[in-house]
Subunit: 145 residues, 2 copies
DNA sequence: TTAGACCCTATAGTGTACTTCAGGGTCAAG
DNA sequence: CTTGACCCTGAAGTACACTATAGGGTCTAA
């Protein structure tokens, strides 16, 4: 069966055992089976779920939002149409984040492009601006940040 | 000159005046000039900066990280090479986030694709899995989440 | 059979990012 | 000249996501 202790799980994904127990209490992780002595015993699948949680956290989802994302795997009280709609809604939220992230990325890459690595600071052309233009071009005076 | 009050700024970007003052205290916003009576008077640029902050927050940057991002506009104690390196490092962090976000997006879109909107719940093929495969294919038993 | 690494629960404490409160002052409209 | 919407500071309070502490039990190896 090859089950994992909480310590093995925590170490494998790089979090603390307390965090794993915390996620269980918050409903992000299902309570695993227990050994005779009451120790938690995790299926290897748990690692994937925890890594999913970590990715989602890194891009700004709250634990409650992550719980919603994970709930898409579970049987909804309604039908597939409902489930699919919820998934598509989440994808929309993700696309909004991708958009924000790309805007920030563009700002920074424009900033680094404008800066010639060889020049000295006094000639640097980018010391005042971090543009977020290139999108929403119809906005008012969009010149800086 | 067309300066904005803190209330106008807050309303324009959809946050509270307290949050604007809080960002100033945290160093994310430079202290603006004041009117004779001590009221803050913002240049319209401030709106762009606040919107940048909001985008960055949404994709999981902390206020301290955002301060670092914003600091790329300012004169560093060193030279352009240093500045450019910092910008490129940040871009790397953003690319990692883009990667995570795309993995999550793939999981969800695969989930919604597998689910035929017409079928009833009993036939639904996706009720147990939310894959994060397609990347890191060399990993151990990568079948679920 | 005992030291040390690990596990358990319950509860308290921490850091981040606000939000609210207390006690004011400013200003345009009526 | 007062009323109401707005502004000020400083301090206290809150929600979220952990993190640490207290007071245990388990297990493996010397
Ligand atoms: Zn430069
Ligand atoms: Zn289905
Ligand atoms: Zn008051
Ligand atoms: Zn103890």
């Amino acid at each position: 069966m090859n089950l994992l202790s909480i310590g093995q799980v925590a170490k494998a994904v790089g979090i603390s055992v307390e965090t794993v127990r915390f996620y269980e209490k918050q409903g992000l992780l299902l309570a695993p089976m227990r050994s005779e002595s009451g120790y938690r015993q995790y299926k290897p699948d748990t690692l994937k779920q925890l890594r999913f949680i970590q990715r989602a956290k890194k891009v700004g989802f709250t634990l409650n939002e992550i719980k919603e994302l994970l709930s898409l795997r579970k049987i909804p009280n309604s039908n597939c149409t409902n489930l699919k709609q919820r998934a598509l809604k989440k994808i929309g939220e993700i696309d909004a984040k991708l958009n924000d992230l790309n805007r920030i990325r563009d700002s920074l890459s424009q900033l680094s492009r404008r800066c010639n690595s060889e020049e000295n600071i006094v000639d640097c052309p980018i010391l005042e601006y971090l543009d977020d233009d290139k999108r929403n071009e119809k906005d008012e005076s969009r010149t800086h940040l």
